[in-house]
């Protein structure tokens, strides 16, 4: 007896097993690398107060807590070890951005952040966890084939498997969030964002938004979170789903005080692009650079022509 039909088997093989040329992975790498660099700089300036031996949360308070042993900073709190973590994170983030040993850089980013998060779990939010999961799956992506200073890791014969895993993780984030919200009467009635937008702890400009606007925003959030996971896998609807997602997260970032969350979601969108779409963006980026380089050459030529013209 066959559990899966031939057609389903072919679909699964195509979904997870198609070959990757690395264009989407390269766009993701640059975006994630820039985000990691920004995050690492924030970590560097906070090294002593969050993770050092005299940090706000003493290492001794975490001894014996579940999984805290996974951070060397809990067992051996020292200034140099804390600096090694944050500076190592920064170096790996820069290497990832420019495409030098990118998969090794992803390993370092994962391990450094895992340790930092266990040393001070109190500063971490959901976006930081997704940041870590993306670093783990990035290790299996063809990160260095395109847009890389190291010149495109030759010989990659990999598949889109890790890309699909990230896609499934991101759509699950939206589905889980929507399912939980739909179970709450305040979300169903359209008033939930009134409480959120008035919170001085979370809102950039706390204010009691009333009337139809708050209902449009609340139901719009639900509609996006339910619709995105289905629309993003359709080639026809994908640009709309990703565009709506970018607007949604830029909106959250603008009105809410939530570090990391919006940026990490937007960065993950690069992995929803198929190779053709990603190639088009890379060509556009290169074309833009090419045009400006050609423009500079033309200007130089005209300048020398003018200089060579006798008065």
């Amino acid at each position: 007896m066959r559990i899966l039909s031939d057609e389903t088997q072919r679909d699964l093989l195509g979904f997870f097993g198609a070959e990757s040329r690395g264009a989407a992975a390269a766009l993701f790498r640059v975006g994630y690398g820039l985000l990691a660099t920004w995050t690492a700089l924030q970590a560097v300036v906070n090294t002593s107060r969050y993770w050092g031996p005299d940090a706000m949360v003493p290492a001794a308070a975490l001894v014996g807590k579940p999984w805290a042993w996974l951070s060397p900073l809990v067992g051996w709190p020292s200034a140099w070890l804390a600096w090694a973590h944050t500076l190592g994170f920064l170096a790996a983030a820069v290497a990832l951005t420019v495409g030098v040993v990118p998969r090794m850089a992803a390993v370092v980013i994962y391990l450094a952040n895992l340790s930092l998060q266990h040393r001070n779990p109190l500063t971490v939010n959901g976006g930081d966890r997704l940041f870590l999961v993306l670093a783990a799956f990035a290790v299996f992506l063809p990160l260095g084939r395109r847009l890389s200073l190291a010149g495109g890791g030759s010989g990659w014969k990999g598949t889109v498997w890790a890309q699909r895993m990230v896609q499934l993780q991101v759509v699950y984030v939206y589905l889980e969030s929507a399912a939980k919200k739909l179970s709450e009467p305040r979300w169903r009635s359209g008033w939930a964002l009134r409480d959120v937008l008035a919170s001085p702890v979370y809102a950039e400009w706390p204010s009691w938004v009333g009337g139809p606007l708050v209902q449009v925003l609340t139901w719009g959030t639900l509609a996006f979170e339910v619709g995105f996971p289905f629309l993003v896998f359709s080639k026809r609807w994908r640009p709309w789903a990703l565009g709506a997602g970018v607007l949604f997260h830029v909106g959250i970032h603008a009105v809410m005080l939530l570090p990391m969350f919006s940026a990490v979601m937007i960065v993950s969108y690069a992995l929803f692009l198929d190779e053709e779409e990603a190639e088009r963006i890379i060509r556009w980026l290169r074309g833009g650079r090419g045009r400006s380089a050609r423009g500079r050459t033309r200007r130089r030529r005209s300048a020398s022509a003018i200089a060579a013209t006798p008065p």
Binding site: L132, E176, V196, P259
Partner: protein, 169 residues
């Protein structure tokens, strides 16, 4: 021959190991992802999946703002020897540099809204701010603005409460 068997047959031994590991990790990760989101299934599977989802932090819980968020800003109020006081808000507002450096302070300091957290880590946290700001006494202060109901009427008046004091000496 099924499409799976055909694809499997075309692989070298090394590729078969890689594919088998990839399939196993996919099933494992997607399985833990689905069980982690629900309180009951998370509890049941924790002995098996705990290290992966919480130790390696591969599990993510989503549902922010499902319930109404806190409106209470937790401040650390530090008194200096000259009688002046400095308030450290949990919310990073102000200059670009302040926002950049203090972006994660809210998450940490907001937890001290709960008595259990204040009891556990409150003294060492207040002591840290005493050292940093050269204070003689530090305290947690909970500031809550006026809360309105859906009709725009005042449901709860604004409040300000000092909940824990610690001497810096």
């Amino acid at each position: 021959v099924s499409p799976f068997a055909e694809a499997w047959g075309g692989l070298s031994r090394r590729r078969r190991i890689v594919v088998a590991l990839g399939v196993a990790l996919s099933v494992w990760h997607l399985g833990t992802m689905l069980t982690y989101g629900n309180d009951r299934s998370r509890e049941v599977t924790a002995p098996v999946t705990g290290f992966y989802v919480d130790g390696l932090r591969a599990g993510i819980l989503w549902g922010m703002f499902v319930r109404a968020p806190s409106h209470t800003d937790v401040l650390v109020q530090v008194e200096r020897a000259d009688g002046s006081t400095v308030d450290v808000s949990s919310v990073a507002r102000g200059s670009f540099a302040t926002r950049f450096v203090d972006a994660r302070l809210r998450k940490l300091q907001e937890r001290f809204n709960e008595p259990g957290w204040r009891e556990w880590l409150g003294p060492s946290y207040l002591a840290w701010w005493c050292r940093a700001l050269g204070g003689v006494e530090a305290a947690f202060r909970l500031d809550t603005p006026e809360l309105l109901d859906d009709a725009g009427r005042v449901a709860t008046p604004a409040s300000r409460e000092v909940v824990q004091r610690a001497s810096c000496r």
